[in-house]
C-alpha cells in the first residue's frame, strides 16, 4: 500500500510537471508574452525594459530552468496585472471555488442518485420516462445558458435572488443550481444504467427471494454495488465541475479561481495562467488518487500492492 501510494504520488508530480511544461512551451513558442500584454503603441525602449525586468530577454532554456526551479518552490512569479505572487492570489480565491463546486457536487448527487435508483427500479414506467427526458435534456442544455435564464427569471423578474457576487446564502443558490444541473444529469443516467445492471444479478434475486424489503434490497444490496462506477464518475466529474465553475463563476461574477483564470487569460497574465494550470492539475491528480483509494473502501475485494 505504501509503495502504491509512493508510486502514485510520483506519477502525480510527473503529470503536473508535464502539464506545466506543455503550457510553458506553448506560451513561449507562440509569441512574445510582453508584446501581448503591453499596449500596441508601446515604445521599443519600454518593451525592452519590461522584457528585461521579467527575464523574457534570456534564452528560452534558461527561462525554462528558472521557471521549473520557481515552480518547484511554488513560486510562479508575480501576476502581471495584480503585482502580487500568482499562486498566493490563486489560493486566496480557491475557497470560493471550493464552496461553489462542493455544494454543486452535493446537490447533484443528492438529486441524481435517488432519481437514478427510482428510474431503474421502475423501469419503463412513466416515472422512468419522465426521468429520462429530464436527464437527456439536462445534458443538452448548456450550463451557462441555464445560469443566464436563472438570472433573468429569478433575479430580474421575480427579484428572489441577487444577480451575482458572493457572501450571503441567497447569492449561492443560483450558481450552485446552475453548476449542479449538468453533473446531475450525468449522475442520474449512470446511476440508472448501473442499477439496471446490478438489479439483474443473482444476489439481488436471492435478496428478494428470501423476503427482504424492496427498499433494503435496492439501497443496501444494489446501490452499494452500483456505487463504484458512480464513484469513478464523481472523480472524473470533478475536472468537468472545475471547468463548469470557470463559466458559471463568470456568469455570476463569483470571485473564484475560474473567473480569475478567465481574466488572466484575457489579460495575458502568464504567471497567473501557469499557477492556475499547476493548481488545477495537482487538484485533479490528487482527486483521482482519492477515488482509487475510495474503491478499496467500497469494495474490499480490491487491493493495491
Amino acid at each position: 500500500m505504501t509503495r502504491y501510494l509512493a508510486r502514485r504520488l510520483l506519477e502525480t508530480i510527473v503529470v503536473v510537471f508535464l502539464s506545466l511544461t506543455a503550457v510553458f512551451l506553448m506560451l513561449h513558442l507562440t509569441g512574445d508574452p510582453v508584446k501581448l500584454f503591453l499596449p500596441t503603441d508601446a515604445l521599443p525602449a519600454q518593451i525592452a525594459e519590461v522584457r528585461h525586468r521579467l527575464g523574457f530577454d534570456q534564452p528560452i532554456w534558461l527561462q525554462y530552468l528558472r521557471f521549473v526551479a520557481g515552480a518547484a518552490r511554488g513560486d510562479f512569479g508575480e501576476s502581471l496585472r495584480y503585482g502580487v505572487p500568482a499562486l498566493k492570489l490563486l489560493l486566496e480565491r480557491f475557497p470560493a471555488t471550493l464552496e461553489l463546486t462542493g455544494w454543486a457536487m452535493l446537490v447533484s448527487l443528492l438529486t441524481a442518485i435517488p432519481v437514478g435508483v427510482i428510474s431503474a427500479a421502475r423501469r419503463n414506467s412513466l416515472t422512468d420516462y419522465v426521468g429520462i427526458i429530464i436527464t437527456v435534456t439536462g445534458q443538452a442544455v448548456p450550463g451557462f445558458w441555464l445560469g443566464i435564464m436563472g438570472i433573468i427569471l429569478f433575479s430580474v423578474r421575480l427579484g428572489w435572488f441577487p444577480t451575482g457576487g458572493r457572501g450571503t446564502w441567497e447569492q449561492l443558490v443560483l450558481p450552485t443550481l446552475t453548476l449542479a444541473a449538468y453533473t446531475a444529469a450525468r449522475f442520474a443516467r449512470i446511476t440508472r444504467s448501473t442499477m439496471l445492471d446490478v438489479l439483474s444479478q443473482d444476489y439481488v434475486r436471492t435478496g428478494r427471494a428470501k423476503g427482504l424489503a424492496e427498499r433494503y434490497v435496492l439501497y443496501k444490496h444494489a446501490l452499494k454495488n452500483a456505487l463504484i462506477p458512480i464513484l469513478t464518475l464523481v472523480g472524473l466529474q470533478l475536472g468537468q465541475l472545475l471547468g463548469g465553475a470557470v463559466v458559471t463563476e463568470t456568469v455570476f461574477s463569483w470571485p473564484g479561481v475560474g473567473r480569475l483564470l478567465v481574466q488572466a487569460l484575457l489579460n495575458r497574465d502568464f504567471p497567473l495562467v501557469l499557477a492556475g494550470v499547476f493548481w488545477v492539475s495537482l487538484l485533479i491528480s490528487l482527486t483521482n488518487l482519492l477515488v482509487d483509494l475510495a474503491y478499496a473502501w467500497v469494495n474490499p475485494q480490491i487491493h493495491y500492492g
Binding site: M26, M149, I284
Partner: protein, 292 residues
C-alpha cells in the same frame, strides 16, 4: 427491363428502407433525426427563410421585443433580426462541430491505430499524454489554447481539435487491441500483408463503428463548447455570428432584453438534444456495449 436490374435495384433500396424501419421503431431516434434535418435545412436555407442579413441592423429598430411586426424573435441592441442571426449562426456552430470532429477524428484515429497495433514505447508515450490531457478540464484546456492562438473561426477549430483528438486516440486504441487478435488479421499477416495494409484495410474498417457513434455525440458537445468559448470572448469574433456570441451579447442585455439570450440558447439546446438523440440511437442499434 432485363432480369438482373430488379436484383440490384432491390439491394440498393433495401438498405435505406431497413434503416428507416429501425428508425421509425426508435421514437427518440426519430425525433432526433427530424430535429437534425430541420436544423440542417434551416442553416442551408437561411438566405431564403429570412429577408434580413445577420450582421447589419437598423438602429432605429433596436431591441424590439419578440412578436414585433417583421421580427418574430425581436431585434438586438444594433437592430439586427434575432431570428436571422440564429439561422445564419447555425452555419458556424454546425461547421465548427463537423470540421472539428472530422479533423480530430482522423488524427486521433491514426494515433490510436498505430499505438494499439504496434504497442511499445510509442503506445506508452501516446497513452500517457492522452491520460494527462483527458484529466484536465476540457473547457479550461480549450480556453488556454485559444488564448494563446487567438480567436476566430479557424483558430477555434484548431483549439477544439487539440482538445478532442485524444478521446479518439484512446477509443480507437482500445478497439484495435481487441481486433488485432482476430483470425482475419492473423490470416492477412500469414498471407504476407504489410503492417500498413493490415492496419488500414483490415483493422480500420472493423473499428469504424464506435468512431462514427462517438463522433455523432461529439458534435453536440463541440457545439456547446463553441458556445461557451465564444461566450467567454475567446472564440468566434464579430462580424461572424455564432450562437455563443449571441449569448454573450444577450448576457449584457439580460436586464432589459430577455429574448437576446433566450432564443439562441433554446436553438443550441434543441440542436444538442437532436444530435444526442441520433447518436444514442446509432449506439443502440450498432453497439449497445458503448452504453453510458
Amino acid at each position: 427491363m432485363s432480369e438482373p436490374l430488379p436484383a440490384t435495384g432491390g439491394a440498393i433500396t433495401r438498405a435505406p428502407s431497413r434503416i428507416w424501419r429501425r428508425l421509425s421503431r426508435h421514437q427518440a431516434g426519430l425525433v432526433g433525426f427530424v430535429i437534425v434535418l430541420v436544423i440542417l435545412l434551416a442553416s442551408l436555407l437561411a438566405g431564403i427563410l429570412t429577408p434580413y442579413p445577420p450582421d447589419v441592423g437598423d438602429m432605429v429598430q433596436n431591441l424590439l421585443p419578440p412578436g414585433s411586426p417583421g421580427h418574430l424573435l425581436g431585434t438586438d441592441q444594433l437592430g439586427r433580426d434575432v431570428l436571422a442571426r440564429i439561422l445564419y449562426g447555425s452555419r458556424i456552430s454546425l461547421a465548427i462541430g463537423v470540421y472539428t470532429v472530422v479533423v480530430a477524428g482522423a488524427l486521433g484515429t491514426v494515433v490510436g491505430l498505430l499505438s494499439g497495433f504496434w504497442g511499445g514505447w510509442l503506445d506508452t508515450a501516446a497513452m500517457r499524454l492522452v491520460d494527462v490531457q483527458l484529466s484536465f478540464p476540457f473547457i479550461l484546456l480549450a480556453l488556454v489554447i485559444s488564448a494563446i492562438l487567438g480567436g476566430g473561426f479557424r483558430n477555434l477549430i484548431i483549439t477544439l481539435v487539440i482538445s478532442t483528438w485524444v478521446m479518439y486516440a484512446r477509443l480507437v486504441r482500445g478497439e484495435v487491441l481487441a481486433v488485432k487478435e482476430k483470425e482475419y488479421v492473423e490470416a492477412a499477416r500469414a498471407g504476407g500483408s504489410t503492417d500498413w495494409h493490415i492496419i488500414f484495410r483490415h483493422v480500420l474498417p472493423n473499428v469504424s463503428t464506435p468512431i462514427i457513434i462517438v463522433s455523432s455525440l461529439q458534435i453536440a458537445q463541440l457545439i456547446v463548447a463553441e458556445a461557451a468559448i465564444s461566450f467567454l470572448g475567446f472564440g468566434v469574433q464579430p462580424p461572424d455570428v455564432s450562437w455563443g456570441l449571441m449569448l454573450a451579447d444577450g448576457r449584457d442585455y439580460m436586464m432589459n432584453a430577455w429574448w437576446l439570450a433566450t432564443f439562441p440558447g433554446i436553438a443550441l439546446a434543441i440542436a444538442a438534444l437532436g444530435i444526442n438523440l441520433v447518436g444514442d440511437w446509432l449506439r443502440d442499434i450498432w453497439d449497445p456495449r458503448l452504453k453510458v
